[in-house]
């Protein structure tokens, strides 16, 4: 079946404008990470980098299925920078985090994408894997109490799904019929551990069965299919249909962090997944369907480059935090968080 702009619009409910928006977010994610890597090499990034190369598709697709205007909130993991960008986090905000600047959203206290802004609809994770599932259950519980029509979306990895914190969340959220979408990213590895050593389950979405949630598995490198599955889950949640555990199958194309050369990953596997690159596939799809021209893509890339040039400049110009501030803002009442930075 050949796609056309009209068939995509009909099948996925995505206008040309939104399709180009997706392309923009895909490119923005990929390019921003590349910038971070080069800043890292210049010793301008504090701490590690956790790449989402080859997984940008699912982050962007899933977050695109949310309706932030309705108060939806996404809680990404470290490899979901794309979700943050879709929710409206600005590249400079992410760069300031990586560079531990005093005017970063966490004011230099926290790493990479550990940032939150409910007004825009995002909350970064804490490091202990699994914890954000219960937390996002609470976010959606509160949303319901407050009469909001919001949906929560929370990401977890194939590895993180082995934690007890993760496990309590879906059961709890499901029995309370909360409007929560849990995106389980099966990207083949958790650090050096392949999924087959993480669990004997053949389909991670089957965990939904054991708690009475809806489970679905989708090719996470197929942006449109992932969007469609995420949209179904979001609609189900908003419609009172409860929790969906959406397994997106993808692949971590880089090591766990920058220093890890992923020597433990068979070369052929990397080659194989390179062919399935979500950005390439998506671009082919929108080109072939006539949604976009090569010029459109070039102009998106140019504007991404321009945006990131400015963002990097702005981030580099940002000041380091004031040492004495380390003592403040632990508890309410000292005014720290009310002061501008």
């Amino acid at each position: 079946m050949t796609l056309t702009a009209a068939s995509i619009e009909a099948g996925y409910g995505l206008s040309r404008e939104r399709l180009l928006q997706i392309e923009y977010h895909l490119r923005l994610t990929r390019s921003l990470e590349e910038r971070i890597v080069s800043l890292f090499r210049q010793s301008k990034v504090i701490g590690g980098i956790y790449r989402s190369l080859g997984q940008e598709g699912e982050s962007v697709a899933c977050a695109t299925a949310l309706d932030f205007a309705q108060g939806d909130i996404v809680s990404p993991l470290i490899r979901n920078m794309g979700s943050l960008l879709v929710a409206g986090a600005r590249p400079v905000e992410i760069l300031r985090q990586y560079m531990a600047k005093g005017n970063s959203l966490s004011r230099g206290r926290e790493l990479n994408i550990h940032i939150k802004d409910f007004a825009r609809g995002f909350m970064g994770p804490v490091s202990p894997l699994g914890a954000m599932i219960p937390v996002m259950a609470g976010v959606t519980l509160a949303g319901r109490m407050q009469g909001k029509n919001m949906v929560g979306m929370v990401h977890i990895g194939d590895g993180g799904a082995s934690t007890g914190a993760f496990a309590e969340g879906p059961n709890f959220a499901t029995v309370m019929k909360l409007p929560l979408v849990i995106v389980l990213e099966n990207n083949g590895y958790a650090y050096s551990t392949p999924t087959v050593k993480q669990t004997l389950a053949t389909r991670l979405a089957d965990r939904a069965l054991g708690v009475g949630a809806t489970g679905e598995t989708v090719d996470g490198n197929d942006v449109l299919a992932t969007y469609a599955a995420a949209k179904r889950a979001v609609d189900r949640a908003r419609g009172g249909g409860g929790v969906t555990l959406l397994e997106v199958v993808t692949f971590r194309m880089k090591g766990h962090a920058e220093h890890d050369n992923q020597s433990y990953v068979p070369k052929e596997l990397i080659e194989e997944w390179k062919q399935k690159d979500p950005v390439d596939r998506y671009e082919r799809a929108i080109l072939e369907s006539g949604v976009a021209t090569a010029d459109d893509l070039a102009s998106i890339q140019a504007s991404v480059k321009h945006e990131l040039d400015e963002a990097v400049d702005e981030a580099e110009r940002s000041l380091a935090p004031i040492a004495e501030d380390a003592a403040r803002g632990v508890y309410h009442g000292d005014g720290f968080w009310d002061e501008p930075r």
């Binding site: 959203l105 202990p128 914890a131 509160a142 059961n171």
Partner: protein
Amino acid sequence: MSRDSARRDSETIDMSENLIPKAGGDTFYIDAIRQAMREEMLVDPRVFLIGEDVGAFGGAFKTSSGLIDEFGPGRVIDTPISEVAITGAACGAALMGMRPIAEMQFINFITVTFDMLSSFAATSRYRGNGGCPIVVRGPAGGGVRGGPFHSGNPEAYFFNIPGLKIVYPGTAYDAKGLLKAAIRDEDPVLFLEHKFLYRRVKEDLPADDFVVPIGKAKVRREGRDLTIITYGAMIYLAEEAAEELAKDGVSVEVLDMRSILPFDEETMLESVAKTNRAIVLYEAPLTGGVGAEFSARIAEKAFDWLDAPIKRVASLDTPTPYAPQLEDFHRPSKAKLIAAAKELLRY
């Protein structure tokens, strides 16, 4: 732990009942807790209760009895047995502007969700993630023949975790006032309630709204010769010892810290400056208990006032044993307290 058996065993506990106000008082400690929750839920729609069996059943100890009838299952929420999810959901709701009270059926099970409280709740504000005003409460304390897993005093586990607050009231008044303060607080508060006291202490409470500010100690008994610094159910043991020492002409000041994090360093130091002798008394095992911090603060900041070493009386460094004979030996006793006092006074 059946309530009856707890009651039955009370005679063997080294904490004489006669010191506990009974006559005239009409609000038990446990009812003070329920009243605090109820009143805060009445005035603040953001407040809700979440935990195992807290709804129609009213909680394992009946602390929330009746609340579901008044506020419905939307605000008195029964959950699966999932302490991580209960506290995690409370955190998420708090970030959304709600004021959740999460009940642990027994406070011991707070250890299950240690990570959520230490990693998520405690750090949230500091990390720029926003204030996380949850209350986590549950029955703590021993003397009820609960054995190793139903007698816990976990305050020290959380005491080196900046971002949390911890309170441990010993009276019905403080239970109500501190719980209200905790619910209104902008930061996460662990509210430890002593199950031995639930239906053993009662007093008349003011009809009007009141709070007990977090971080303020209370001098329960004025004295000149020695200060006993304590909190929770141990305040009664301290008063009992003070009473007995008074017969020998010794004037003991009893300081109820009430709040543990933050704690009222000022009042503590003032008292020691006056009496020049201090015993720190607590129900948890000795080593690494929060009383060590009290002692360390005095040793640093009231050194000049000290006429004698700072003593501590606490439980043995063991898990809580089950048999009455063992538990009584394990716990602080009036005898140990008086011996410590006499040693200091001889100094």
